[in-house]
């Protein structure tokens, strides 16, 4: 120990590696029991008493540092007393104070540190340490010590009473460091709450208010992570901690309120908002007149929305404070509101003018403040406003008044609660006083909406008001809500004004969430009934002429897909829709109508993400659609042509059905999925149509003339298309769901075989996805690897790897399938997947396959709608990054070595890669790629060019320093991409303009300035581009550059 201590004392300073390792060794010795703290103190003795101040400090420092890491059990009750006494007594040794405080801070963390110790520490610091004469870190120890003491030994400190308060005030007086202040403010707040400060109000106020308003700006690199807002809030909490401050603070806050600095104003208003309820009505009453004048001015002449909001909050807080007084103080509330209402109503005489809106808001915030305030404001204004509304003819004026009337609904929603946002512990008889005016409100808002000749903004305001009224807590009864919903129904179904009809639908959809029963009763039947379901209705629709057919059912179905989301609504919707579908597909054979019905069903299912009721529709919707889809494919071609039911031969229809099956499957749990797909295998693989699940009648079954064998190469195209349905079901299963298959290898081989040989593109693509999904979820590692080795890297690869086979079609098909299977492996980061990638990249130089192979990168790394998280694919974290890291060198190297005709295949793959990897990866790996990207801009390939420009856009926004280095080569290329030229499609031109336009936002002025005049000059051509969308972008870009004038010099 002695050796260690001596070595420490001769180190040059305590930050050296050597010093640290000595400390580490001492701590280790103590922890392991080879030495004790006592020995350390004994050995240190001579240094602690040395005449040289720096030696004493260094010795103390060693002890303190060791204490910080010392185990709890080393310092028992006896030891802590000795150590605390030792440290406290020496605090008068100025040279060692920083090290002593460091040690005390550590001591205070020991469990054995008790109340007596804390008293001793506090007293000693107050007595011996002139806190503000030390540097920041030392002061920080002081505040940390007090933080610890106040939080763990509060009761002991309370014995010190006034002495603690004055002591602390002295310690923080003059503090300037933001880190220390943040801590000090929080302690002040605690002291105000816990100590009797009545004797020291003024002093305490002075040491805190002197920081108001906070003008702190964090240094550019923000080393402490403290914002001005942190400090503002901490200080505000001090100022609003006690009513004692009221008398001192109010005049000063008022003064700052008139300050010309926006920051001071804002802070004063926010502080006022926080302080008013604490200071109480008595303290703000003397200032009401001035407060109103200043705040009103802020609201009425607001140049900035945020100021307006803050001022409104301040008014609300004042009104709330005035409301909370005892009865006779209500006079102040009455009086204040009278002033406010009178001034506002004066401005509301001409409600179409600019000042009406802010005045309406003032009334709203006053009304929102409390129940009495709501009553006073309401009674003073509503009758007049309603009268005014009825007497006025001018539409803009009516709308102005209606807006103000609506304000009370909003205020009521906040104060008395609404269905969407119910207040907790709401008293049952705490009902909005607006109920008094319910009849007038219903009448006025309804008539505003219903008058079709009116100004549409007025009607819209009426509609929004009605919507809000429905949501009000205990305002309208179900019957009244029903009446309003009927208005909304009509607006959706019959209204010509698009905006009103859209808004009505939005309202209905919103209300359906909270009042599904009323919507079920009033709205849903009307909408469903309006969907044609027999020949006559269809004809009537057509006779009514124009686009009725379109207008009607498309609109209604769109509306239904917004409305019928809630389980009880969906339950009523499904049978009706399936019913109409039967009519549309069989009787009418109306493709468009069938398609619209299915789309509506699909989009509803997608919206029901949080609903558990979906799973039961696997027994309702799915078999219905399967029967409908499969039935027609079981007749000979000759029969089909002259009979019915061709709707389900349509590819678009099949794709929607696919989507429906997929979303329902995803919503099943594992055991439900397991049952479901064994039925699907039975039907699609074995061709068994006798399942009860399907529900074909015996008669139907007898009429079928062909077998159902959709996976076969020989079947009709229509049957083959149904492969999609099978893929949707199997591909959407959880990975633990077992397939009803004896041998997965065999099944996969068969799928690959069919997809290689089929002539049906749709089927091939679907089978490739099916194969990929099975491969991705296959959990028997050895069989999987064997399969990949022999079948994928073996047989399948041979189809395309050798250019000598001569059959280009087979080469292309096999490559496509290979790419999909590779994707399945990459997602699960399977080691053999990388060998597959090699096979794909090695085709880049192939004359016929090069382009296809490089485009394949989009499949490999892009988001897929079949293999993703929702379809339970096995996806390893960071798989994209791994893929990127693996491919990047191959692409960069390949680009260098290949000849010009195929070079751009590497760039295409690269652009797919860059587009799909996470931004952080992109930005960190980017610099070596920039030359390649710049080269891409000089090629005429439009697709490549626009995706490269998009990459540059991302880089500009996120890593401008990389762009800065390349502006001189980049800007001319971007400029030439804005010109009408070969390869510069409008998409390229637009992207180039967007990219040029974003530069001034991010790249430093001095880097860009030399290009400014060239850019402005050259872009004038784009202002006359023949495409409007390009011109718009050119205008925006140029205007950015015109306004790019660098930092202001004043």
């Amino acid at each position: 120990m002695e050796r260690l201590v001596r070595n420490y004392m001769i180190t040059s300073n305590e930050a050296t590696e050597e010093a640290k390792s000595i400390v580490y060794e001492i701590v280790y010795n103590i922890k392991s029991g080879q030495a004790t703290l006592i020995t350390l103190v004994q050995v240190l003795g001579e240094f602690l008493t040395n005449e040289d101040g720096t030696i004493r400090a260094k010795g103390t420092g060693l002890l303190s540092t060791v204490l910080a890491d010392c185990p709890q059990e080393q310092v028992n009750n006896a030891a802590i007393n000795v150590l605390v006494d030792f440290y406290c007594e020496r605090l008068s040794d100025t040279a060692s104070v920083p090290e002593l405080l460091q040690g005390i801070e550590s001591l205070a963390h020991f469990n054995s540190f008790h109340n007596e110790n804390s008293l001793k520490v506090a007293k000693s610091i107050f007595a011996s340490v002139n806190v503000q004469s030390f540097q920041q870190t030392t002061r920080h120890y002081v505040f940390q010590i007090f933080d610890r003491l106040l939080k763990h030994h509060l009761n002991a400190l309370k014995q010190m009473r006034q002495d603690f308060v004055t002591g602390f005030i002295q310690a923080m007086d003059g503090e300037k460091d933001p880190r220390n202040l943040l801590l000090a403010f929080s302690l002040i707040k605690l002291i105000i709450h816990e100590f009797d400060i009545s004797q020291h109000v003024e002093l305490l106020f002075e040491v805190t208010f002197c920081y108001f308003p906070i003008t702190f700006k964090p240094p550019p690199d923000d080393p402490y992570g403290i914002t001005a807002d942190d400090l503002k809030i901490a200080l505000r909490e001090c100022l609003s901690a006690t009513p004692y401050f009221a008398e001192l603070a109010m005049p000063l806050l008022l003064e700052k309120l008139t300050s010309s600095s926006g920051n001071a104003k804002k802070d004063s208003m926010e502080t006022l908002t926080a302080c008013a309820p604490v200071y109480g009505a008595k303290s703000i009453v003397p200032y009401l007149e001035d407060l109103w004048d200043y705040l009103k001015d802020e609201i009425v002449n607001a140049t900035d929305d945020s100021f307006e909001d803050i001022a409104l909050e301040a008014i609300k807080s004042i009104v709330a404070t005035l409301s909370s007084g005892i009865i006779n103080r209500m006079d102040h509330l009455q009086q204040f509101l009278k002033t406010v209402v009178t001034e506002c109503m004066e401005n509301l005489k001409e409600p179409e003018l600019k000042l009406a809106k802010p005045c309406g808001k003032i009334l709203m915030y006053c009304a929102m403040a409390s129940d009495p305030a709501f009553n006073i404001v309401m009674l003073a204004t509503l009758r007049v406003l309603i009268q005014q509304y009825k007497e006025n003819e001018l539409a803009t004026r009516k709308k102005g008044i209606l807006e103000v009337l609506r304000v009370f609904i909003t205020a009521s929603k906040i104060l008395y609660g609404s269905i969407e946002n119910p207040l907790e512990n709401l008293d049952a008889d705490f009902v909005t006083p607006l109920s008094t005016f319910k009849d007038s409100y219903m009448e006025i808002f309804s008539s505003a909406l219903l008058n079709q000749n009116e100004y549409s903004d007025l009607r819209l305001c009426g509609l929004l008001g009605l919507h809000d009224m429905i949501l009000l807590h205990q305002f309208l009864n179900d019957e009244e809500i029903g009446i309003i919903l009927q208005y909304f129904n009509r607006a959706v179904l019959e209204e010509i004004d698009q905006e009103i009809s859209n808004e009505a639908l939005k309202s209905l959809a919103d209300i359906a969430k909270y009042k599904p029963n009323i919507v079920l009763e009033v709205t849903l039947p009307v909408f469903l009934d309006n969907l044609p379901c027999d020949k006559d209705e269809m004809k009537i629709d057509i006779i009514r002429g124009m686009n009725v057919k379109e207008a009607n059912y498309v609109k209604i179905l769109d509306a239904l897909s917004e409305l019928a989301i809630e389980p009880i609504l969906f339950e009523a919707y499904v049978p009706q829709i399936l019913n109409k579908l039967d009519f549309a597909s069989s009787t009418e054979n109306d493709l468009e109508y069938s398609e619209s019905l299915l789309k509506s069903l699909h989009s509803l299912l997608l919206k029901k993400t949080n609903h558990s009721d979906i799973s039961r529709y696997v027994e309702v919707i799915v078999p219905h659609l399967l029967t409908k889809s499969i039935g027609p494919s079981l007749y000979d071609k000759s029969e089909v042509n002259n009979t019915i039911q061709c709707v389900f031969f349509d590819k678009k229809v099949i794709k929607i059905v696919t989507g429906i099956i997929s979303v329902i499957t995803k919503n099943l749990n594992a055991s439900e999925q397991s049952i479901f797909i064994s039925q699907m295998f039975e039907i699609f693989v074995k061709g068994n149509l006798n399942l009860k699940y399907l529900g074909f009648s015996d008669q139907e079954k007898a009429s079928f003339s062909v077998e159902f064998n959709p996976l076969s190469v020989e079947s009709s195209f229509h049957q083959q298309n149904l492969t999609l349905l099978f893929t949707a079901a199997v591909g959407s299963c959880r990975k633990e769901v077992p397939y009803p298959l004896p041998n997965i290898s065999e099944f996969l081989s068969k799928i690959i075989e069919i997809s290689l040989n089929t002539k049906n593109e749709l089927q091939r693509h679907s089978l490739a996805q099916l194969g990929a999904s099975i491969l991705n979820k296959w959990n028997q590692e050895s069989e999987l690897s064997q399969f990949i080795e022999t079948k994928i890297l073996g047989e399948l690869r041979n189809h395309f790897a050798l250019s000598s086979t001569g059959n280009e079609a087979i080469r292309q098909t096999s490559l496509d399938i290979f790419i999909w299977l590779t994707k399945a492996l990459i997602l699960r980061a399977h080691i053999l997947g990388y060998r597959c990638i090699d096979q794909i990249t090695s085709r880049f130089n192939d004359q016929t396959l090069g382009k296809r192979a490089s485009e394949g990168f989009e499949v490999l790394i892009g988001e897929s709608d079949s293999l993703n998280k929702q379809s339970f694919a096995v996806i390893k974290t960071l798989y994209k990054q791994r893929f990127f890291n693996y491919c990047m060198p191959i692409l960069a190297e390949g680009f260098k070595l290949s000849n010009d005709e195929v070079k751009h295949n590497y760039l295409i793959a690269l652009s797919h890669l860059l587009r799909n990897i996470p931004k952080q990866v992109l930005l960190s790996e980017l610099p070596p790629l920039i030359p390649l990207l710049i080269y891409s801009l000089s090629l005429p390939d439009a697709e490549l060019k626009s995706s490269t420009i998009d990459t540059f856009y991302i880089i500009s926004a996120n890593a401008p320093h990389i762009i800065s280095e390349h502006v001189s080569s980049l800007i001319p290329l971007l400029l030439s991409s804005t010109k009408v030229d070969k390869g510069n499609t409008m998409r390229v031109r637009i992207s180039a303009l967007q990219c040029l336009g974003i530069l001034p936002d991010h790249v430093p002025f001095d880097v860009l300035f030399p290009f400014k005049s060239k850019i402005l000059r050259e872009l004038s051509a784009a202002l006359d581009d023949k495409k409007r969308l390009v011109r718009k972008q050119a205008v925006d870009c140029r205007s950015k550059w015109f306004l790019f004038i660098g930092p202001r010099t004043d």
Partner: protein
């Protein structure tokens, strides 16, 4: 705060004439003519020098008062000051002028006039706005240019300014 020329102007909810992108506009091969809606879109969201409101919201500019003849390279714009003695009229006109100088192809000849009968010194304002040299001279004044630039910062919104409720 200095006294405003017109402290409480009427606010008009802009009739939302928004351009919806058409299939033609997305078709590479079709030429889109410059029309009055396009030119109106350029100037509608210029900010008023006095209020945080756009020229459209104050009814200073209206679609009907923009005439465009793309084939003959002619554009005529009329604007309506909020009050007849508005001393801001020239400044507003200048903002429109600068915006169009920066945003339209050079081939166009653009006339910018106060709408007949809406301003006391109509002719003087018109003369100032349509005289190239006077406009250039005005823009030499850096303070004035700064004010103009300030008014133009919102111009790209093209009527899509979202005012919070």
């Amino acid at each position: 705060m200095p006294e405003l020329i017109n402290a409480n102007p009427t606010i008009y909810t802009s009739k939302k004439s928004h351009r919806v992108i058409t299939a033609e506009e997305e078709d590479e091969n079709i030429e889109d003519k410059i029309d009055s809606q396009e030119v109106f879109d350029l100037i509608r969201s210029i900010s008023d020098p006095e209020h945080p409101l756009t020229l459209e919201e104050l009814n200073v500019t209206q679609l009907d008062h923009v005439t465009v003849d793309d084939n003959n390279d002619r554009i005529v714009i009329e604007f309506t000051p909020t009050i007849p003695h508005c001393s801001m009229a020239t400044l507003i006109g200048l903002c429109i002028r600068v915006r169009l100088l920066r945003s339209l192809p050079e081939r166009f000849k653009v006339d910018i006039n106060v709408r007949k009968g809406t301003h006391q010194s109509e002719q003087a304002v018109n003369k100032q706005l349509n005289d190239k040299e006077r406009v250039a001279a005005a823009l030499e004044n850096t303070h004035l240019l700064e004010v103009v630039n300030q008014c133009l910062t919102t111009a790209n919104a093209r009527g899509n300014i979202s005012r919070h409720k």
